[in-house]
């Protein structure tokens, strides 16, 4: 990407100070969001989300596995992010390794709760088939196709949409199995359970530029940030995860203020995403019927 001149940098910073950004948005506005679900037919669930020019695809694949010995009543979820070279030439080869790892861990922190699985946005107990023996392993793979800033929010939204689209097949277990044996499973081809996403949080990233914070930064605004805080908030307004990036220190009162701003914005983003997701799901329903 071509570097920005000093004049351009002043323009962007000045705009943010005056609450008019380069594309005309106010500091707390998101770019237009488009959601399309069911884009990867061979996955259990998938979604493609576009926020402005940032575009990501998320897919959810469910496989049967064994629950960990520490948590025999919980299934497992793993999140992987891959940044495609298509989005940015610097992502070629191993260039995106660090960024992908950072995004994967940030997403896991926001959506999956602590190491014990407590407080997860995704209900892991709903993934159990036979306690201690068989559970569903969900593999969530995200791919960044086009990068124009605010990747974490877009990835969070795409995972939420993909989970809403996810249908896990019903499993019938043969009853007559002793305590040590692996029970036989019969995976249904016809009956599916829609995954419950009411508790999945959304991620809001607030980027501080100068004295103000903006939401949904584009790639020309991101280099000016002094620090950024990504907060995931669920439907009830509870904070599910928090990540601070950037070297500059933040006053604790600023952090509390950012959290309350994020909580307020999360309601708007959540309702917007919900309506986009249900519109996308309805579109699939129409296609299937016609």
């Amino acid at each position: 990407m071509v570097g920005l001149s000093l004049g351009e940098k002043h323009f962007i910073k000045g705009g943010i100070d005056q609450n008019i950004r380069s594309d005309g948005r106010k500091r707390d506005y998101y770019r237009p969001i488009f959601v399309k679900t069911g884009v990867i037919p061979q996955a259990n669930g998938s979604a493609r989300v576009r926020m402005g020019a940032t575009e990501v695809i998320a897919s959810v694949k469910a496989e049967l596995g064994k629950p960990s010995a520490l948590h025999p009543d919980k299934g497992k979820v793993a999140i992987f992010v891959d940044c495609s070279a298509v989005a940015e030439p610097t992502f070629e080869g191993r260039g995106a390794e660090e960024l992908s790892a950072e995004l994967s861990v940030a997403l896991e922190r926001c959506l999956l709760g602590g190491t014990s699985g407590a407080g997860a946005g995704i209900d892991l107990t709903s993934l159990i088939v036979a306690e201690g023996k068989i559970c569903w392993d969900l593999y969530i793979d995200s791919l960044v196709i086009s990068s124009d800033g605010n990747l974490l929010d877009a990835l969070g939204a795409s995972i939420k949409a993909a989970l809403a689209n996810t249908a896990i097949p019903k499993v019938n277990i043969s009853a007559a199995a002793s305590a040590d044996e692996q029970p036989e499973v019969d995976i249904s081809d016809e009956e599916f359970l829609q995954f419950d996403t009411s508790a999945v949080p959304v991620i809001i990233t607030l980027t501080q530029v100068g004295r103000h914070y903006i939401v949904d930064a584009t790639s020309e605004e991101e280099p000016h940030m002094s620090s950024a805080v990504s907060i995931s908030v669920n439907r009830k307004g509870h904070v599910c995860g928090l990540t601070k990036r950037g070297g500059e220190g933040l006053d604790p009162s600023v952090v509390s203020d950012m959290i309350s701003v994020a909580q307020h914005l999360s309601e708007l983003l959540m309702s917007r995403l919900d309506s986009e997701i249900s519109a996308a799901e309805a579109e699939i329903g129409d296609d299937e019927e016609s």
Partner: protein, 241 residues
């Protein structure tokens, strides 16, 4: 297993000489100089071209022509089973090389010395013929980027199962163990730039199957030309001409 039933229909209902449905979209990646999405049936790939731009690695710079680089990757979710390592495995390296050589032969590199053209191809869904879909997508992306080329490069695969030459194999037909011939073709110049085959074929059948693949390439070239014309009309319309 029967790949062509007695009525002459294949597993997905196509006739032996019928290609899968093609769909192309130009300009999918906003930040790339040129980009395209190309679908052949269930195989879906996205290609992005960055360039001509300054060479990143000065030791590779050439004073009389442009440097063409290519990277082919498959998404984790592109195949039925999850792929754990999307880049760097041998198959991806080989296909990157194949695409680079095919496109390099076609780009007028002498017009852009001391510069670099990067072609990135990402497979979103793999159902056989990914190599061909990638070359077709790369052609469209290069055209979208305005990079001068000798001709459009189109590619198609063909095989031979149940004693019938089949055009445009999908994944099931490809893994059946029969031959898989991939052809890269320059339609206007009427030249073959890429030819790869695996498995065995009787010598007198090879010519037939290759010819069938070339016919497929010509059909794809017609479609690509239509897509490019339509795209140009849209651009003219948006400029108010």
């Amino acid at each position: 297993m029967e790949f062509v039933n007695p009525e002459g229909l294949r597993l997905d209902g196509r006739r032996p000489m019928e290609m899968r449905q093609l769909r192309a979209e130009i300009g999918a990646v906003a930040r790339a100089d040129g980009s395209a999405v190309f679908e052949m049936g269930n195989t879906k790939v996205i290609a992005a071209v960055y360039g001509p731009r300054e060479v990143q690695n000065k030791s590779q710079q050439s004073n009389d022509q442009a440097l063409v680089r290519c990277e082919y990757t498959m998404a984790n979710f592109s195949t039925g089973d999850r792929k754990r390592k999307p880049k760097g495995d041998r198959r991806s390296t080989e296909i990157s090389l194949v695409i680079r050589q095919t496109m390099e032969a076609c780009i007028l590199t002498h017009l852009m010395p001391r510069s670099q053209i990067d072609i990135y191809v990402q497979v979103l869904q793999a159902d056989g013929g990914t190599r061909s879909a990638c070359i077709n997508a790369a052609t469209l992306a290069l055209a979208d980027a305005g990079i001068p080329m000798r001709d459009l490069v189109t590619s198609c695969s063909a095989g031979y199962l149940n004693s019938t030459p089949l055009l445009d194999l999908n994944y099931l037909e490809d893994s059946a163990g029969g031959a898989d011939v991939t052809v890269g073709f320059l339609p206007k110049l009427d030249r073959v730039t890429l030819l790869q085959m695996d498995a065995k074929l009787p010598v007198d059948i090879v010519e037939n199957v290759m010819q069938l693949a070339i016919e497929g390439c010509k059909a794809i070239a017609t479609y690509i030309r239509e897509v490019l014309l339509e795209n140009t009309k849209q651009l003219e319309y948006r400029r108010g001409l």
